[in-house]
Every structure is written in structure tokens, then in C-alpha cells.
């Protein structure tokens, strides 16, 4: 699986060839730098590690600084590994090589986008697990409109089962959205326009897998 690291810019819409208005997300994808190439012989599996975004030298740990120096690049903010990158990519890559968006994706491709969803804080079960709520405001409902209802039986089993869906912290998870179509590639500005939405806030990192 090849791929690239990017940053979510925002959403807009464009028109398809048959005149339909398609919602799309604009992503600044790359340019990324190969920071490490893992192979079956040395690491037990094949993968390529990419780095994206500039990091200040003084904010880089000694260990990571050494890692980037070995690849012959400046320190990077986000480092992601892609398994079996070269098979999909079609050619061999070497540490220090630059990967730009047009080398990985072209118009019409399908990709998976991985991001960290927006944090929503402590939420009730209606928002968090799509519970229905009570559905009535009258017939004895006082403050139970969005309550979860019963969480179990009585003396048997005398406990609440593990994993029962309840209120709690919502969002802020790693989310993968699959099969987004590439509508446009703008190599001069490293832009990628994909159909539909991508998890996360604006300016958050997005991993794009082919």
C-alpha cells in the first residue's frame, strides 16, 4: 500500500462532468520525504517511512534528530510508516527521496483517509451511540428525554455487563474513511481534492492510503 501524509485544508464543492454538485475536501498532500526503508531481511517486513512538515531543530529529540540525519533530511513533524509501499508505488525508493502527490495519486483513484476525529467532550448516549432517547416529551417524561434507559436486569446477574454503551468522552479517535475518490490533483501546490469528508479539524494531519 502506497500513500502520503497531508494536512486537511477545508471543504468546498465542485461540479462533476454530468453537472452534479459534489462535496469535496481539499488536502495539502506532501511533499513527503522517505526517512527509512524497511526490508524483509533487516526488519522482518517491508515498509517505507515517510516524514511530513518541518519541525524545529531544538524541538527534536536527539534520537529522532539522529534518525533524520541518517536519511539526510531536516527534522519532520509527522512520521508515518506505510507497509509494502514499494509494491504499489511501482519503483524502488531510497532514504532522502522526495515523494510528491502526483507520484502517488492520479485523478480517478480511490484512497482511504485516516485522521483524528474532532473531540466532542463528554457526551450522552444519544450523541455518542445513536440511542433514540425516549421519543416523547409527555406521558410522564420529566428529565428522561435523552436517558439511556435500563442498563441491565436485577438480582440476576446483579451487575452491569462489561462494554455496555454509556455516556463518556466522544470523538478524538483515529478514524479511517475508505474509498474516497480523487477528483483533482494540483501538483504545483501539492493539493489533492477528494470526494466527501475526511475526519478531523482543519489543519490536522491526514494519512492517505492508496
Amino acid at each position: 500500500m502506497s500513500g502520503i501524509i497531508g494536512r486537511k485544508i477545508g471543504m468546498t464543492s465542485i461540479y462533476s462532468a454530468d453537472g452534479l454538485n459534489v462535496a469535496c475536501t481539499v488536502i495539502e498532500a506532501g511533499p513527503c520525504v522517505v526517512t527509512q526503508v524497511k526490508s524483509d531481511e533487516t526488519d522482518g517486513y517491508s515498509a517505507v517511512q515517510l516524514g511530513y512538515g518541518e519541525r524545529k531543530e531544538k524541538r527534536t529529540s536527539k534520537a529522532m534528530a539522529g534518525h533524520f540525519k541518517k536519511a539526510g533530511t531536516t527534522p519532520k513533524k509527522k512520521v508515518v510508516e506505510f507497509r509494502n509501499f514499494q509494491e504499489e508505488f511501482g519503483q524502488d525508493v531510497n532514504p532522502g527521496e522526495e515523494i510528491t502527490v502526483e507520484k502517488v495519486f492520479e485523478e480517478g483513484d480511490f484512497l482511504d483517509a485516516i485522521g483524528t476525529s474532532k473531540g466532542k467532550g463528554f457526551q450522552g448516549v444519544v450523541k455518542r451511540h445513536n440511542f433514540g432517547g425516549v421519543g416523547q416529551a409527555t406521558h410522564g417524561q420529566h428529565n428522561r428525554l435523552r436517558a439511556p434507559g435500563s442498563i441491565g436486569a436485577c438480582s440476576f446477574p446483579s451487575r452491569v455487563f462489561k462494554g455496555l454503551r454509556m455516556a463518556g468522552r466522544t470523538g478524538g479517535n483515529r478514524v479511517k474513511i475508505t474509498n474516497l475518490r480523487v477528483l483533482k490533483v494540483v501538483p504545483e501546490k501539492n493539493l489533492l481534492v477528494v470526494s466527501g469528508s475526511v475526519p478531523g479539524a482543519k489543519n490536522s494531519y491526514v494519512i492517505l492510503e492508496k
Binding site: 485544508i9 477545508g10 468546498t12 464543492s13 465542485i14 461540479y15 453537472g19 454538485n21 469535496c24 481539499v26 495539502e28 483533482k184 494540483v186 501546490k189 493539493l191 481534492v193 482543519k202 489543519n203
Partner: protein
């Protein structure tokens, strides 16, 4: 910065946007809509009063046109930059004091008239 990049993507539709006449709520317009039937294409006209324009200066900009035919009111929403809109003719400029003419919905006949802007 990031807004500039979105503008860059939307710039593709700038020509269509520039070709649209200047119009606003209260104006009477005639919208020429391309309609595909099988592999034939024809143009249908839709004439009415502009009630509002929404999401100005973005790609998602739309305008609502209201017309009353045979006592049945129709409100149709068009995307401004849609390639399916052949052209928009402005027939009459209306003098109105608000941006969204929702008050037209409750009215008919004399009270639904809009003064012309001269």
C-alpha cells in the same frame, strides 16, 4: 493561507461566476436551465422573483426563485455556478428592504407585489 488554497480550487468556476449578471433579492429573473432527456438537451425557462442568495462568494452559492403559477407557488433553488444553468436574465429590479424575502410566502395578489427600483 488555507483559505487561499480553497479559492485556488474554486477558481475553476470563476468564469461561470463572472458570466452571471448582478442580481439580488426582489429582482425578477428568467433562468435558462439545461435539461437532459436521454441524449438530447433542451433549455427550459423558469421565471420568478429572487427570494434570497445564500453562501455568497463560495462554490456552494445558491439563489432561490419563487414563482406562482395557477395559484400554486413554486420555490426553486439553483446553484449559481452550476454548468446546467445556461444563462440568467434580469427582467426587473425590485426595491426591497431585506435580504431574505420570506414574507412573500404568506402573501398573494396585491400584497405580494414588489416595487420596481428605478
Amino acid at each position: 493561507m488555507s483559505q487561499d488554497l480553497i479559492k485556488l480550487v474554486e477558481a475553476e468556476y470563476q468564469d461561470i461566476r463572472d458570466s452571471r449578471p448582478d442580481f439580488g433579492p426582489g429582482d425578477t429573473v428568467n433562468v435558462h436551465v439545461k435539461i437532459k432527456e436521454g441524449n438530447k438537451e433542451r433549455i427550459q425557462q423558469y421565471q420568478g422573483t429572487v427570494m434570497q442568495r445564500k453562501n455568497r462568494s463560495t462554490n456552494g452559492e445558491t439563489f432561490t426563485v419563487r414563482k406562482v403559477s395557477n395559484d400554486i407557488a413554486v420555490e426553486r433553488i439553483f446553484p449559481l455556478t452550476s454548468p446546467n444553468i445556461d444563462k440568467i436574465e434580469v427582467l426587473r429590479r425590485g426595491k426591497v428592504r431585506r435580504a431574505r424575502l420570506y414574507y412573500l410566502r404568506g402573501r398573494k395578489g396585491k400584497s405580494a407585489r414588489i416595487k420596481e427600483k428605478l
